[in-house]
C-alpha cells in the first residue's frame, strides 16, 4: 500500500484514500472537432507507459477530493514528488534520481548479484 502526499492537504495519507487517474500533462485540446483521427488516437488512447519516471494524476477521493499530479518511478513505485494540478512538470534535476537505491525486480538482479 503506497503512502501518498496530498499537496492540498499537505499530508501523507494511505493509498486507500486515493484513486489513480492516468497520465498527467495530457491537456484536452481546445479544438477537439478539428483534430485528425490520428491526433485523437494519440490524445485518448496512446500512452508512453514509462518504465521509470512517470508523471501521473491522482485524486484524493476519500479526502479533499482534489486531483493532483505526481512524479513516480514505476520501477520502484517510489514517489519523487506530488504537486497541484495545473502546475508544470517539476524540474527533474531537482528531484532525486529515480535509479538510486532502487531495484528493478529481484528476478532481474539474480544473475548479477555481487
Amino acid at each position: 500500500m503506497l503512502l501518498i502526499y496530498c499537496p492540498y492537504c499537505e499530508e501523507e495519507r494511505s493509498e486507500l484514500e486515493f484513486r489513480q487517474a492516468g497520465d498527467a500533462h495530457i491537456a484536452r485540446p481546445t479544438n477537439m472537432t478539428e483534430m485528425t483521427d490520428e491526433d485523437f488516437e494519440a490524445f485518448f488512447f496512446l500512452r508512453d507507459n514509462v518504465k521509470g519516471l512517470t508523471f501521473e494524476r491522482w485524486r484524493h477521493l476519500n479526502g479533499c477530493g482534489r486531483f493532483f499530479n505526481a512524479a513516480r518511478d514505476t520501477v520502484s513505485d517510489k514517489f519523487l514528488t506530488t504537486y497541484k494540478a495545473g502546475l508544470p512538470r517539476p524540474d527533474l534535476s531537482t528531484l532525486r534520481p529515480a535509479t538510486e537505491a532502487t531495484v528493478e525486480t529481484y528476478e532481474a538482479t539474480e544473475s548479477n548479484a555481487k
Partner: protein
Amino acid sequence: MSGANRIPGAGRLTPAKTARFFFDGKSYAALEGDTVASALLANGVHLVGRSFKYHRPRGIVSAGAEEPNALIGVERDAARKQPNVRATVQDVFDGMKVISQNRWPSLAFDVGAVNNLLAPFFAAGFYYKTFMWPKQAWKHVYEPQIRAAAGLGVSPTEDDTDHYSSRYAHCDVLVIGAGVAGLSAALAAAKTGARVIICDEQPEVGGALHYDKSVTIDGQDGYSWAQATAANLAKMDNVTVLPRTTAFGYYAQNFVGLNERVTEHLAKPDKKLPRERLWQVRAKRVIIATGAIERHMVFANNDRPGIMLASAARTFLNHFGVAVGKKVGVYTANDSAYEAAFDLKRAGITIAAIVDSREQPGEAVLAEARSLGIEVMVGYGVVDTGGKLRVSSMSVARNGGGSSRKIAIDALLVSAGWTPSVHMFSQSRGKVAYDAETQRFLPGTYAQDCLSIGACNGTNDLQATIEESLAAGELMSNASGYTAPEKLALQGVNAFSWTGGMAGAAEGAGPDTTVKAFIDFQNDVCAKDIRLAVREGMHSIEHIKRFTTNGMATDQGKLSNIHGLAIAAETLGREIPKVGLTTFRAPYTPVTFGTLINHSRGELFDPTRKTPMHALEEAQGAVFEDVGQWKRAWYYPRAGEDMHQAVNRECKTVRDIAGIFDASTLGKIEVVGPDAAQFLNLIYTNSWDTLKPGRCRYGIMLREDGFVYDDGVVGRMAEDRFHVTTTTGGAARVMNHMEDYLQTEFPHLNVWLTSATEQWAVIAVQGPKAREIIEPLVEGIDLSNEAFPHMSVREGKVCGVPTRLFRMSFTGETGFEVNVPADFGPAVWAAISERTEALGGCAYGTEAMHILRAEKGYIIVGQDTDGTVTPDDASLGWAVGKKKTDFVGIRGLRRPDLVADGRKQLVGLLTKDPAVVLEEGAQIVANPNQPLPMTMIGHVTSAYWSENCGRSIALALVAGGKGKIGQTLYVPMPDKTIAVEVSDMVFFDKEGGRING
C-alpha cells in the same frame, strides 16, 4: 512425569504445570509452554508425519518456523480444524487433539509408502514426460490419481467459527525479531523516546538465546537478560512489544504486515479475543533482526526421524528440558554444532561421535570435545543412515571413500552452517550480495529505509552484534528527530559463531542412481534431482526450482534453497552468485486467510446501502434485489402472488390508477455556480443555456470516446443551480468524471459540485391519479398542468417538509418525483403510500419500473447500452446538440467506425407469438437455418411480459436495426427458434398523451 525424555533440572518449563494432549488418538503428557514437537520428543515420539511424494516417515527437523517435516493437523472442533500446522511452533494446550497427515491407514503403516519403492520412476519432472497416452486418460485416470495423492493436510469443511481482528499502527522504528540484536536495537531506540514496535514470532523473546546457554550479557544469563529487557520495554509508553507475532510481508514504503497469534496456544480462549490479529504497520524506519537459520547436511537417507538440526536439539534440551535421544551422533561442517553435543553430554546424554566433514575444525571446540571425552571424527562424513521409523545408525566413512563404520545412534544432529534470514530485506526489494568468503548472501543495496543487524546481516560476534544493534536503534530514531540522552553499552560474552559450514551436497550424497540425499524434505527433492534438472537444460535457478519443486513447500525453502543453489552451481560449473537466488516473496511463513480478511466478512465484506424508506418497504412486503451495493425493492407480492402476478398487478395499477416507487438510489449531484450551465454544456451532449429555471431536461453524457456513459434528468433550480440526476450505478463515477473535468480541464469555470445522492429521498408517484394523490400533501406549488407542466421542477413543501418536486416520468404516465431531505423520507413515503392505497394504487418495485419504461421505449444505460453504443445507436441522436462546438465525446463520436453504416441500433422486437417472452441476452439472426457458427446481428437487451400491452415486448440492439423495422428476424434458442418482428421502441401510448394528463 511429562515424558520419559524430560531431563530433571533442564529447561525452563515448570514441571508442575502439566497438560495432556492426544496424538492420533493416543494421550500424552506435556508441560505448559511445550510445543507439540517438544512434547512429542519428551515422550520419545519422533515419527510425526509423512513426506509429500514418497510418503517417507518423517520426524522433527527444527525447533522453529522453518520446520519442513513435522506438519500436523490440530482440531478444536468440527469447525475449527487446522491442517499443516508446524509442530515446532504450535504450543500444546490441555485436551488438544493432534493428528498426523498424509498417511493411510496409519502413520506407522502407510500404504502410500509404496511410492518410495517406485521412486526411481518418480524422478523430478517425470510427469511432464508421460501420462500423455491415451489422450483422454489424462483427464479421467492420471490426473485424478495425481490429485488424490497430492496435498498434505485436509481442508476444513465448515465455516470457521473463530474471529480475527485488525490494527493499523504507525511507529518511528519497527524492529523485526527480538533476539539479542532486535532487543538491543529496540532498547536503544526506545531510550530516545521514539515510538517503537518490536515483534517476534516466538512466544517469548530471546531468539537464539533459547538454546545458546553460553551467552551472558552484562553478566546476566542471556535468556534472562532478554526477558528482563522485554519486560522493561513493555513498560515504556512509547514501546509496543509483540511476541507470537510474525512479520510476514514487507511492502512499499515501509509498510509491514504482522501476524499476531492471540489465542491459538490457549486451551479455552476467551471468546471475545480474536484468534489472530493482522497488524499493518507503517514505520518510518525498519530494523531487520531476523537472525539466521541453520541448514541441514545433505547426505544419503538424511531424512529419517531423529535426524535434526543441532540447534533444534539444543533448544529442546535447554529450553524444554527434553533430550532428543540417548545415544546421539553429530554430523557437521561447522563449529556451532559442537555446542549441541557439549550441552547434551553435560546433561548426561551419550554422544556417539561428532563427525566433522572438515579437515580443520576450530581448535576451541576440538579441545572442549576432548575434555568432555567426545570422539570427533575429523574429515569424515556420514554416508548413510539406518532405521525404519526412527534413525538407528549412521555409517561413517573417511572423506573420499573407503570402508564405512556403522555406529548405533537414536538421534543424529546435523549442521551445515547458518543461512542469514534475508527474507524481509529482500521483500523490501533490497538487493542481496554474495559474500564469497563466508559463502553467504547478505544484505547489499537497500531499497527502503531499513537496516539489517545481527546474524541476518552477517554479523558473527555477539559483542559486535550488540554494538551494531545499539547504534542502529539510535540511528533509526534520529531519522524521526529523536536523539539518545546517553550512550547505551552492553557487554556480551559467548562461545558461538555463525560462520563456517558448507552449502550443497556433503560426502555420501551420491551416486545419483540410488541415493536419496534430501535437500527439500517436504517435497522430497534430493541432490540428484537438482543434478537431473541441470542435465535437462534447466540452468536458471528458477527453472530448477520449478522443475524439481525445491523450495516450493510450506517452508518455502528455508532450509533447502541454499543447498539447491550450491548443487546447481556445482553441476553447472559456475559460481553460486552466477546461478542466482530465487525470489523471496511474502509471506515469510504462511498466514491464515481469516487473519488477512479479519473483519471483512458477511455484512462487513462490503457495505450494504439501503434507502431511507427501506424498513417501510420491508414492512410492505417488498422483495429486494441487489443493485451494486444497494438493496432495492424489486416487487411487492401480496398474499398468494408469485413474482409474475405481483409485477403484472403493479404494472397494471400504475397505468390504471397510480403507483409509488422508491427512486432514492438515483445519483444526485448539485451543480452550482455562475458557470454551471456552461459546465453542463461541456459535460452533456445537449445544450443547457436555453433551459429555464424551473424546467427539466433529459441529458446524455458521453465518454471522450463517444460512447454513452450515463443519462438522467437535470432540473434547473436557478440560473446558477442545477439538480443533476444520474443512474444508480453511475452515481459515483459520474461525480468523479465531472470533478475530473472541472478541476483539470475546465478549471476556469466557476462551479461547485456536491454529491447529494444520500441527502435526498426520492419518491416517484406515477399514474393517472398521481396528482390527486399528492395534491393534499403539497403546499406552495400549483400542480396544474398549465402551472407545472411535464419536465418541470418546483420548490415547496410536502407533508410540511421542504421538497424539490419534479414533474417527470419514467413510466409515460403523469408523474411526480418527490425529493425530500433523506430523514423525512419515511414519513413522506408513509403519507403518500397511504394516499396511494386509499385511491386504489400501490407501491411498485424495480421490476415493474423496468417494464413500464420499456413499454415506452425508455432505455436503461447499462442494460440497453453497453459501453459500445452511441447516442444515435440508442435513438437518442436528438439529444446531441448539433450546433455545439465542444462537449466531452464530440470528437470520439465522429470517428470512422462510430458513423459507419450497419452499426447496431436499438429497436423494438415483437414476437410473432405474443405469448412468448424473449430471454434477455438472446442473440438475433437473419437466417435461422445457417450452420454454426451463425452470423449474429444483435441481441435482446430487455424483454418482458407487458400486462398493459397484453403481450410480450422487447428491446434489442440490431445491426442496421432502424432500417429493418417491419422485417422478420429470428432468435434461435436451444429448443426452438423464435420469430420476431422489428418494431419501433414505443409499445404503449405511442402518441404519448398520458404523460401530460
